[in-house]
């Protein structure tokens, strides 16, 4: 930060390093010499925001542009907010210390529904009117994107522009348009229209929504000629060619993911029916080991990190993983850099790989069976069998591991008490497996971590109502009673937090009022236990005449117009529906490599597609034509 207006505040807050910027590798350009100033905001704490790869990528994309300077801002912790408000000072960007109102555009990444109140609170702290309709030409353009933008409607009243899909190409296009329009003095209304003409941008004020007497959506259409009825998400076709930051800011404070990160692939070939990421990031694309190795080396060189983490929705589905690991190990061991691999799928877990990575540092092992019985695993299309789970665990134990973490979900569609008890039984069999062989001096620890199912847009389960919190809590207690072994640790999520998440995940524009009211009543950092207040939220819905069950717990009609139907993520609604029906019959769908399920996402790739079957089909079609 290049000014000391805030110095007296910083002596009175916890971790002042959150608010000063100036980290190693942070960007600096003279604001008086650039022609477009942007501020990228993360609506959660500095420690969470600095761990976010997407934000690092996009800030880097802007700053690579000549004449564009993109600064950063993270949600101030309540102690800092109190200081800012007490001194009447606005929220500012870390690099320059200038208030958010000094920027042409302020961009938010939406990682989680429970950050929405922070988005509004940050605008409020910056002295920016919350409602888009109340912001004149003098205010920055408010832009939002990220995973939650796949249902942008709850924030439609507040955000001028949503970026749908991957932003590496789209956002620089937006910046270029913004710059031209500012030079030409184009008024905001016209600017918004021009943005709506770019692919992958949704301008909520250009669409009108009507509702039926029963409260369901009746129509959703553009209110100006030329505005597209459907907004298609953007993707990057060739990941090897796309910008990837290898000189990101390195925080002084200890942040959540304090390590160098390599993005191995995007999308997932699996198709678990509850998983939003598995659908919205389709089609599957990956980077070559050569690209990744070069990025890793540059990252370590530029940051000094001694830990390197590979990120992926399902790392073991990366076909060239052994080759990548070999390449990395050629230099990481010598340079004392440790590797970590996330989200291992049980069926693809192999010993050799584990041993290689373990030779650097032994890290915890996590598997996600998601459900306790084969029937329910088939319903959700988690294509693994109990035998595969036990084999993988056995290998882990033989490889010297003593502790395992298993992820499950309660409240999945069609879950019965038998499925709940199945979680305990599976964990018990894993413990028994450990003791089935003599392992002198060792004891086992199995952590069972159970979250609550939240129906998400653009999944085969988007229509399913969420199980009510009381019933979820009953199942959580039932599971606790089923667990007998002291070798099993049991953790579960707060069902009421998941309900609030479901309300906003499947919400529509009418929830905007509730968000604004919640912020007015002091709600923020809802994702944090210490600030989450379910009763206050229910009070707000009640006072505003909003029925939260309508959004969270109702089973949506298959012919119902959904608030996010106007977005095209590549995967067709028809496919989602057929997957839902297969789930109801407990029938599985093979992964994309085994057989193309015809979801439609490959059509997003213009030149290349990772799915052979689809490519053949396209070729045939072209021939016929």
């Amino acid at each position: 930060m290049r000014n000391d207006r805030y110095a007296s505040l910083l002596e009175h807050v916890e971790k002042p390093g959150r608010y000063t910027g100036g980290e190693l590798n942070s960007e600096w350009k003279d604001p008086s010499e650039v022609d477009l100033r942007l501020c990228f905001c993360f609506p959660d704490s500095y420690e969470i925001g600095m761990s976010n790869l997407g934000m690092r990528i996009l800030v880097g994309c802007f700053n690579r542009m000549d004449g564009v300077f993109c600064e950063r801002c993270y949600a101030p912790w309540p102690d800092m907010e109190a200081q800012l408000r007490a001194h009447g000072l606005p929220l500012y960007a870390l690099e320059s210390g200038d208030p958010l109102t000094s920027f042409a555009a302020v961009l938010f990444t939406l990682q989680y529904e429970l950050c929405y109140t922070n988005v509004l609170n940050m605008l409020d702290l910056a002295g920016i009117p919350l409602l888009a309709s109340e912001r004149g030409e003098e205010y920055p353009l408010i832009v939002a994107g990220g995973p939650c933008a796949y249902n942008p409607e709850p924030l439609a009243d507040f955000v001028d522009v949503f970026s749908i899909g991957e932003g590496e190409e789209a956002l620089p296009e937006l910046a270029a348009l913004l710059r031209t329009c500012r030079e030409e003095g184009v008024p905001k209304q016209e600017l918004l229209y021009r943005i709506s003409q770019l692919e992958g941008f949704y301008v909520p004020s250009l669409y009108d929504v009507t509702y039926r007497p029963d409260g369901m959506l009746e129509s959703f259409r553009p209110n100006r000629e030329g505005v597209p009825a459907t907004v298609r998400k953007r993707i990057i076709e060739h990941l090897d060619d796309v910008y990837f930051p290898v000189d990101s800011p390195v925080p002084y404070l200890e942040v959540v993911h304090d390590r160098a990160v390599l993005e191995v692939n995007r999308g997932c070939v699996r198709g678990c029916r509850f998983c939003q990421a598995g659908m919205v990031y389709r089609p599957y694309r990956d980077k070559s080991p050569e690209t990744l190795d070069a990025c890793a080396a540059a990252s370590v060189r530029n940051t000094g990190y001694t830990e390197l983490s590979l990120t992926s929705l399902s790392i073991s589905d990366y076909p060239r993983l052994p080759e990548l690991i070999d390449r990395l190990l050629r230099w990481t061991e010598e340079r004392r850099v440790s590797l970590s691999l996330p989200s291992q799928r049980i069926d693809a877990f192999y010993e050799e790989l584990m041993e290689k990575v373990m030779s650097v540092r032994k890290s915890g092992l996590t598997f996600a069976p998601e459900a306790g019985t084969q029937r329910l695993r088939d319903v959700i299309n988690k294509n693994i069998t109990e035998e595969e789970i036990l084999t993988a665990c056995g290998k882990a134990f033989d490889g010297g591991r003593n502790s395992l973490k298993l992820y499950f979900m309660n409240g999945l569609p069609s879950e019965t008490d038998e499925d709940v008890a199945g979680i305990a039984a599976l964990a018990q069999r894993i413990v028994d497996l450990f003791y089935s062989q003599k392992r002198p001096g060792r004891s086992v620890n199995v952590t069972v971590s159970v979250s609550c199912f939240v129906p998400k847009p653009f999944t085969p389960f988007q229509w399913e109502g969420q199980t009510a919190p009381d019933e979820l809590e009953r199942r959580q207690k039932l599971l606790r009673d089923c667990i007998r072994s002291r070798k099993i640790d049991y953790k579960y999520h707060d069902a009421r937090v998941s309900r609030l998440e479901a309300i906003f995940a499947r919400g529509d524009r009418r929830l905007g009022r509730a968000l604004a009211e919640a912020v007015r009543r002091g709600q923020r950092f809802d994702a944090w236990d210490e600030f989450f207040d379910y009763d206050r939220w229910m009070g707000i819905f009640d006072d505003l005449g909003i029925d939260p069950s309508f959004y969270a717990n109702r089973t949506f009609g298959e012919d119902e117009l959904l608030p996010w139907d106007f977005l095209d993520i590549g995967v067709s609604k028809k496919f989602l529906l057929s997957e839902r029906h297969k789930a109801q019959a407990a029938r599985t769908t093979p992964d994309c490599r085994t057989k193309c399920a015809g979801c439609g996402a490959s059509a997003l790739c213009r030149e290349r597609c990772s799915c052979d079957e689809w490519r053949e089909e396209q070729a045939e079609r072209t021939e016929k034509a």
Partner: protein, 204 residues
């Protein structure tokens, strides 16, 4: 193996960075420097790094000293080379001023010189008078709170007028009898509106 004493300043926004965070940043800096750093043995190897005298949050310094070790060999530069390698990777607010090689560890730091700039309406004389008598402050440890007279610990006091306040140059003990300069500020309490604390020299 060579012991390296690297002197550096820590100023500006780095005063908001704690000693623990600085330690981590310095470790990463050493790795980025490409110098033949000696790592610790064991399962989680890391550069062996110590500091002459930790600096508290909200304080700046012109004279910090970090000690780390280099492996002697063909790729080990001389003192000037090491200084250049460190400077090439230093972050904003941290600036290396000197590098000295030694065959033994850093000696114990006995005392430190400070410059405290008080924003106050008091004159240097009035402030000086306050420092003449007993100076009781409350020292807290995990288990107990005691009132301590810090007056005898403050040596070589010099007061002078500066714009908007008074500057105090003084020497405070390090080691077992360490006195954090923030106690001088808490002693003055409401009489000063703000204080800049700058460490100017470490005495070994």
């Amino acid at each position: 193996m060579i012991y390296v004493f690297a002197s550096f300043s820590k100023t500006g926004n780095l005063k908001y960075i704690s000693h623990l965070d600085l330690n981590r940043a310095m470790t990463r800096l050493l790795i980025r420097s490409g110098l033949p750093i000696r790592f610790s043995e064991g399962f989680n190897p890391h550069p062996k790094l110590t500091f002459a005298q930790p600096l508290s949050l909200f304080q700046e310094s012109l004279c910090e000293v970090a000690e780390f070790r280099l492996d002697e060999g063909a790729d080990c530069p001389d003192e000037a080379g090491t200084l250049a390698a460190l400077r090439a990777v230093e972050p904003e607010g941290l600036h290396f001023t000197n590098v000295t090689y030694s065959d033994r560890k850093l000696p114990v730091c006995k005392a430190a010189k400070y410059e405290l700039t008080f924003r106050t309406a008091l004159s240097p004389e009035a402030l000086s008078a306050l420092f003449e008598g007993e100076m009781p402050v409350l020292k807290k440890t995990k288990t107990k709170e005691t009132i301590v007279d810090i007056s005898p610990l403050i040596r070589e006091k010099r007061f002078s007028a500066v714009e908007g306040g008074v500057k105090l140059c003084c020497t405070l003990p390090c080691g077992d009898a360490y006195l954090n300069p923030s106690f001088l500020v808490s002693f003055l309490g409401e009489r000063v509106a703000g204080t800049r604390i700058l460490r100017t020299e470490l005495l070994f």
